[in-house]
Amino acid sequence: MDWEAFALSLRLGALTVLLLIPLAILAGRALAVSRSRGKPAIEALVMLPLVLPPTVLGFYLLSGFGAGSFAGRAFEAVFGTSLVFTFEGLLLASLIVNIPFAMQPIQRAFEAVGPELREASASCGNGWWRSLWRIELPLAWPGILTGMALTFAHTLGEFGVVLMVGGSIPGETRTISIAIYDRVQAFDDAAAGEMAAVLLVISLATIALTFFLTQRIGRRHG
């Protein structure tokens, strides 16, 4: 069992959830209430990482983050480190790859709140923040939980993009799914099987816990 890779995956998953979910809440809510004509185009863009082959996405991220790119040079100038083959680059890639997993359930949850409850909240004198905090977030909570679980579980399992952008540097970019691949390549089936089982249990537990909590919240709201 590669505990270092396991810990790195957990750290990557937790940080991705922590950074992405607040943004997904704001963007998902904005898209849910938007009546803009550009909405379908933005929604398509949000979904793109879901349908693009991971290697294609990884290639573009590698080109976009590389030392020759503007983003890569700017990041290196500010933080003194490269974006490719580093944990920071992996995190950025993870944030981009997970946008649809976080955004989709959250946007749908905000859409389900409906315009009448927002209007009722406004007629109670609630401003944007108070309405979000008091009315919309509690009602959209099951969708937010689902977004968190999907993002976390997907980050643990992401392989193609991680390999392209991060490679397999122990302690820096080697996640548990890369470690499983390395072990299989080395014909170490016992270690690969152990890590695969751990990943399976964590993923299953995350999704099961999410379903349990969303069902409980759903029952409470009638």
Binding site: L117, E119, A120, S123, R220, G222
Partner: protein, 238 residues
């Protein structure tokens, strides 16, 4: 009109709308007409949920909308109590919390007592701890009325408030509202397509069709003397 409500709204698109009327404090104005006649849009314009292309809405001396002067207060800045057709109660809150939500401008310590008193006023004093899903349609409507009154609104707007309940409950709720309205100091605008509601509750009525007011006046006068056959047909008194 310094006190009360004065509204003039007009738009050509997305659907034509032209309406103008005044409602005095304590007076109930009913907007009557078939579906799509624009009555709910007028109500939503007053609350600020719909922004007509042109218009001026003044309530209790405060200008809520003046398109010529580019004035348009946000819905939360307009003191309008709104009873939605589907009640739009917050499903994760109890009846008491629903009413307290509209009392956020009052000191925290006073809110619960004020909310309980409002619930008692609509005969729901013992149901405060129940969530909307645990209340009947009639009880939900009463919570919606209590919540709309909680902000001490300058106007009470009611969109088909009895449409989601059965006939028996409807009669009971209408009777309760009849009693309540005598105590209400603010203008009330009631959207309905039920003439019984109009007869029992409204001092005046506006008959709307295709976005325009065809006739307005005192309830008894309009019902007795519809201006033409179209209005008589719309009121089903032909």
């Amino acid at each position: 009109m310094d006190k009360g409500l004065s509204i003039r709204v007009a738009q050509a698109a997305p659907f034509p709308l032209e309406a103008a009327f005044d409602v005095a404090p304590g007076e109930v104005m009913a907007l009557v007409g078939p579906s799509g006649s624009g009555k709910t849009t007028v109500l939503r314009s007053i609350a600020g949920f719909h922004k007509p292309q042109q218009g001026r809405i003044v309530c209790n001396g405060v200008t809520w909308l003046d398109s010529a002067a580019h004035v348009s207060l946000a819905p939360r800045e307009r003191r309008a109590g709104f009873v939605f057709q589907s009640y739009a109660l917050f499903p994760h809150m109890t009846a008491l919390e629903n009413v307290m939500e509209a009392l956020s401008d009052r000191p925290r310590g006073d809110r619960e007592e004020a909310a309980r008193s409002l619930l008692a006023r609509v005969h729901l004093g013992t149901h405060g701890e129940r969530r909307p899903a645990e209340l009947s349609g009639g009880e939900q409507q009463r919570v919606a009325v209590a919540r709309a009154l909680a902000r001490r609104p300058d106007v009470l707007l009611m969109d088909e408030p009895f449409s989601a309940v059965d006939r028996m409950t409807r009669r009971k709720l209408r009777q309760e509202l009849e009693e309540l309205r005598r105590e209400l100091p603010m203008p009330v605008v009631l959207v309905t397509h039920d003439l019984d509601d109009v007869r029992r509750l409204a001092d005046r009525l506006c008959v709307m069709h295709k976005g325009r007011i065809l006739q307005s006046g005192k309830t008894a006068e309009v019902l007795a003397n519809p201006a033409d056959q179209t209005i008589a047909d719309l009121l089903d008194i032909g």
